[in-house]
């Protein structure tokens, strides 16, 4: 059967491990002791009593919502501007897509370098323009680390939003704009009454997908700050990593993963139930 290889691979590398991880949350299991003993809800009750968990959950919310909002703003900005015929559009479109395709390690290293408090070029420019009086710490500051991180995700993933928004904008029937114009609508009215309702389902889809992915984001944060300074950027995935690979307590880490997964599941139920994404695409045509 042709589906065999794929099925075997998926079962062995994805389904079984996921099933294993789902049950692991209910067992005591550490790296030092290969035995698994039944724990019941002990891992969960331990977790829920950790102030670090709640702090990480809060940071995850801030990070997810902040970066999704920033990415959509970025996407709308470039989507709307690049929708019209303009000189050098092809080149600019490639440039906007580029950050999304770059390896995360490159983005982490480049931003670490240009936002470096001592030798960073951004601080140099800010100082020369007298926008700041002394070098901004960016990733090194307790209050600046999270906003800086959100800025980087906007830069990296905003292009995903721009791409989807651009594709949707190009499929809006031009007659809708003609009709709006003949009824006396200006640019702003056209945007508000024609563009935005047509974009609604696209924007919701972007918010949903990017929300899930940002909530699960591990690599970028780890590369840039490793959750620091003083846990200022320690979101849930970083917290789980620490339990699993610094304390080597796999049972507790899996329990924390289950909590993350439960949150995502709740969000997707709300998304599919109340925003019925497929229906709206039909209406938009």
């Amino acid at each position: 059967m042709a589906i065999g290889p794929a099925l075997i691979l998926l079962v062995a590398t994805a389904y079984l491990p996921i099933a294993f991880a789902l049950t692991l949350g209910f067992f005591h299991r550490t790296a030092f002791d290969p035995r698994m003993t039944w724990a019941g809800l002990a891992n969960f009750s331990w977790l829920l009593h950790q102030p670090d968990l709640w702090a990480a959950l809060w940071r995850s919310m801030v990070f997810t919502i902040g970066s999704v909002v920033f990415q959509i703003a970025f996407g709308l900005f470039f989507g709307l501007l690049l929708n019209k015929a303009i000189l050098g559009r092809g080149l600019m479109r490639s440039l906007v897509i580029l950050p999304y395709m770059l390896p995360t390690i490159v983005i982490g290293l480049v931003f670490n370098w240009i936002l470096n408090p001592e030798f960073g070029v951004v601080n140099q420019i800010l100082l020369q323009l007298s926008i700041v009086s002394r070098p901004a710490p960016f990733f090194g500051g307790l209050h600046t680390a999270m906003p800086s991180m959100i800025l980087v995700t906007g830069w990296q993933y905003g292009s995903f939003a721009a791409l989807l928004i651009l594709a949707r904008l190009q499929s809006i029937n031009p007659r809708l704009y003609e009709a709006a114009r003949t009824c006396g609508a200006g640019t702003w009215r056209c945007f508000w009454d024609v563009t935005l309702p047509n974009l609604r389902s696209t924007l919701l889809l972007i918010a949903f997908l990017r929300g899930i992915w940002m909530f699960n984001k591990f690599d970028l944060i780890w590369i840039i700050t490793q959750g620091g300074p003083l846990k200022a950027t320690e979101t849930l995935p970083i917290y789980v990593y620490r339990i699993a690979f610094e304390d080597f307590n796999f049972g507790r880490a899996s329990a924390a993963c289950l909590l993350m997964f439960a949150i995502l599941l709740a969000v997707s139920v709300v998304y599919f139930r109340y925003f019925s994404p497929t229906k709206e695409i039909e209406v938009g045509r």
């Binding site: 294993f20 950050p99 770059l102 690979f245 995502l264």
Partner: protein
């Protein structure tokens, strides 16, 4: 007329400001990579440079393990591409041509795996691979990368085979071709764009992956490029010229890909206009 003209200029200027924001970090990576070490710790820097040096890139190959990391990255990415293309093509073909039990469940589950936090997948993989000795091996990391890229690739190939009409194959069957021969000579050429996308996606995911390689490969000689590069920052004397030079080299496949996408795949997105 003048109003329209002013509006167009406004748009152009806004766009250029935005583009500067996008391009500047990459421009600075490029500049730093070509700046000799002695000048890197002497700010203020000139934003425009006229003299370049390849000193950093030479040092990268002579004084670091960059080549080892690159070989590892290429082997793993190549393995992931081969497995993805074969498995996804066969599965996509089967899904579009045959009906079987649990088909819908299978298709839905391929997309579900995207909702699981990757960290949820890496913990059991770490335990299992430790037990069977797959950690710090190419096989282990290839399998881990396949687990994240295969689900979407099956989906892509399924979509592509739905576009290829069955009648084409039937014509081949009536002229005496076997099912396999018809798949090979009729179906595959029509599904080639899908196969190319599958290969690109598998390569990009494997080449870019940090998390899986970082957790599963703990032996320096088995590091892939992203993990190896991360260690450059941890060294006592951080040499940013070297780091930016390696970042630049790691980005080369991406630059190639974007140029390719611009010419080829954009039409499929309806963006070609």
């Amino acid at each position: 007329m003048t109003y329209d003209f002013a509006k167009r200029w406004m748009r152009m200027v806004t766009l250029l400001v935005g583009m500067t924001f996008v391009a500047f970090p990459l421009y600075w990576m490029f500049m730093t990579a070509l700046t000799p070490r002695s000048e890197l710790f002497k700010p203020p820097y000139q934003l425009l440079r006229t003299s370049y040096s390849l000193q950093n890139i030479e040092e990268l190959f002579s004084a670091t393990q960059f080549l080892t990391f690159m070989t590892n990255s290429l082997i793993v990415a190549f393995g992931a591409v081969v497995i993805n293309v074969i498995a996804a093509t066969l599965a996509g073909y089967a899904l579009s041509r045959f009906n079987f039990r649990f088909k819908n469940l299978f298709v839905a589950s391929t997309l579900w795996t995207y909702m699981f936090p990757p960290i949820l997948l890496v913990i059991p993989l770490y335990i299992i691979f430790s037990a069977i000795g797959f950690r710090n091996t190419y096989t282990g990391l290839i399998l881990a990368h396949v687990s994240i890229s295969l689900p979407l690739n099956i989906w892509i190939m399924w979509q592509y085979f739905q576009i290829v009409p069955v009648s084409l194959e039937e014509a081949a069957w009536t002229s005496g071709a076997s099912r396999l021969r018809a798949l090979w000579e009729v179906c595959l050429p029509s599904a080639l764009p899908g196969i190319i996308s599958t290969a690109i996606f598998a390569f990009a995911l494997s080449w870019n992956d940090f998390s899986f390689a970082f957790i599963l490969q703990t032996d320096t000689s088995m590091y892939t490029l992203p993990v190896g590069l991360a260690t450059f920052v941890e060294q006592s004397a951080i040499h940013w010229g070297l780091i930016m030079a390696s970042s630049l080299l790691v980005s080369i496949p991406t630059f190639g890909l974007v140029i390719f996408l611009q010419r080829y795949l954009m039409q499929g997105f309806g963006l070609g206009r």
